[in-house]
Each structure stands twice: as structure tokens, then as C-alpha cells.
Symmetry: C2
């Protein structure tokens, strides 16, 4: 059996259910960062530096006979591992965790039902998504490759490195701002059409 | 100081950070259901049966001198208390929790960045939202007043009472389905345009 468990993104953000799954597991896979977010004793720790097909095949093989947990920073279903793991040939259950999206919404005091969340990690921003601004705010998960000029001269809130040492939240205009972190969230306000 | 803390929606789903905030608080407000989801000793428990303006005024007054926690089932920023509390005149911080949306996505194995989340609790469904189906799946938070005929003959997945005793997940067609719970999530798949 394979459990993909959300580790949250701040220290101590794992849920009690998540912690219990980790304690019971025979093997726990995760990035160094995911393990650093929590203080849990596990039977066998496997630190991953990459998540490619061969890793997922290994996890699937092992999950056939053991209780395997795969840690996912944030929530497995928010631009996370869950989507990648749904393709593997094994029984997989997902245990949610707190995502950077939730942290951003908490800081902005904006509700999830007021936004559309866009994943631009390692992928280009499709400008047609700006059409959503007639109905919703946009919350874009970005890395430093993100091309801000695609957002025009719009006012943005840039949330960087949430819950990390160098966390920063700032307002700016897209045509003059710069993205310096691969852990960036860009907030664009809904545009009221007259 | 006022903290709005997400309680999650399943037993033991509170985060370690949330639990710590509850332990330290002078007063904790919450619904009976929110308190039932956790096993935490608190100094002073105030069970709320309604969340109206007078309650928020009381909380704001008390938060001026004490450490006050307001429990919100799920996540405060997912069709939650956070949005209502942003209007009150007091310093408010939000601590995220696991929402029913995350649980639904975990069951459906669908990523948050593939959906648009719509809040139809105690409000009508705006049919123009169906336009989103060209780009995204829809995840609708509904109660038993929800008018399914507004979704046409589309295939839906209905997730009812997640993490409750009578949890049920079923596939159906909108024109023949029936909603029996006020804790319902309706999933509509994105429509591929040829």
C-alpha cells in the first residue's frame, strides 16, 4: 500500500493523521526539505533528490508488499506529486497537507472560491488565462523563469519563499517587478468590467 | 490577538501548529462539530451555534486584550470564516487547515490547478460558470438546495458527507441525481472542445 502524505510547507504543519501514517510506515520516501519540516521518527528513511519514472517504479514495486509513505511538500494535489503518481500501477491513497496556496490565501485574506489557481512551475504562462480575470482573481505558482511581461502593466502581489527564512510579500507592477525565487506566488486582482 | 484556525474536516486532521495555537489560547470559539474533530485541552471553550455579526463583534472585543482562537471547520479560506472575519476591526491571523476541497481532490486524484472551485452554499449556481468547463473541471460546494437541472445532462461525481459516518461517493447524471446532504461536493469534468 502506498500513501502520498502532504507535509505542509511550514515547520509543524503536518496533520496528526499524516504523522500517524509516517510512524506506521515501513519505508518513507521524501525530499530532504520535506523531512526537515517535521520531527517524526520513521522506520526507514529514503531521501530523494529527484522524482523521475524509475523512482516511481521502485515505489510501486515496494508498495506491493510494504506500507510505503511518499512525502510531498505542501499538498499532494496542489501542483504536487499526486498527479504524477496517479499514473503508476499500484494502490495509492492521498493524505492532504497544507499547501503554499492556502498560506498565500491566508495572508491575502482571499477565499479559494474567489480565485483560479494556475501552475506555472517549469511551464509557460498561457496568456488566454487572463480572460479569467473577468470572473476571478488569479493565483499563479511561479518560478524565476516566469515571464512577468505576459501580465502587462497590472498590479501584482508577489509572495516569495513562504515559511522560509527569506519570506517576502510585496506589491509591485508586473512590468517593473522581478522574480528571484523558484517558490513564488503571484496574485492578480479580478478586473471589474464596467 | 485573534487567530482563525482551520480544524480540518476529519478526526485528527488539525496541524501541529493549529493544536499549539489552541493550547496557548485564553479563549477558543467554535462549533460543536469543530471541537469534536480534535482532542485538545483548552482553557476556555465557547461553543457557537451561529456566526452572526454580534458574535464577530464579541470576538473582536475580546481579541483586543486576550489570545483568542476561532475554530473554522475545514480551512478558514475555503468558503470559510476567514472571508467573513476580514471585515472586522481587529488584528486577525489565519492558520490554514485541511478543507473538504482537498479531500475531494485526493479522492478524485485531480489537482487543484486543474479545477475551478465554486461556492454554492446558500446561494444559486450562476450558469455562466459552465463556460469554465472549456478550460477546467468544476468543483462545486453545494447543499441540498442546489438545483441540479442547471448542470444539464452532464455526468457528475457527487461526494457527500466526506469524513462523516455516512460518506458516499457516486457517479450519476445531473438530470437524474439527487442531493441529500448539505455537505456535498459536485465534480464536473472539463469538456474537450473539438
Amino acid at each position: 500500500m502506498i500513501w502520498v502524505v502532504g507535509a505542509g510547507i511550514c515547520q509543524g504543519q503536518i496533520t496528526e493523521r499524516g504523522r500517524e501514517l509516517l510512524r506506521r510506515a515501513d519505508v518513507v520516501y521524501g525530499s530532504r526539505r520535506a523531512f526537515e519540516l517535521m520531527n517524526v521518527e520513521v522506520k526507514e528513511k529514503r531521501i530523494l533528490t529527484r522524482f523521475d519514472d524509475s523512482v516511481f517504479e521502485e515505489i510501486a514495486r515496494e508498495g506491493a508488499g510494504k506500507e510505503v509513505v511518499v512525502l510531498s511538500t505542501g499538498d499532494p494535489m496542489v501542483a504536487g506529486l499526486g498527479r504524477r503518481i496517479r499514473g503508476i500501477d499500484a494502490e495509492v491513497e492521498i493524505e492532504p497537507g497544507i499547501s503554499s496556496v492556502q498560506l498565500a490565501l491566508a495572508k491575502l485574506k482571499v477565499d479559494l472560491t474567489e480565485v483560479v489557481v494556475v501552475d506555472c512551475h517549469a511551464r509557460d504562462f498561457d496568456s488566454s488565462l487572463l480572460d479569467f480575470l473577468r470572473y476571478r482573481h488569479l493565483l499563479i505558482l511561479a518560478d524565476r523563469r516566469f515571464d512577468l511581461t505576459k501580465l502587462g502593466k497590472r498590479r501584482v502581489v508577489i509572495l516569495e519563499n513562504l515559511c522560509m527564512e527569506n519570506e517576502m510579500v510585496r506589491e509591485d507592477f508586473a512590468d517593473s517587478a522581478e522574480i528571484k525565487s523558484d517558490y513564488t506566488i503571484i496574485f492578480l486582482e479580478k478586473e471589474v468590467v464596467e
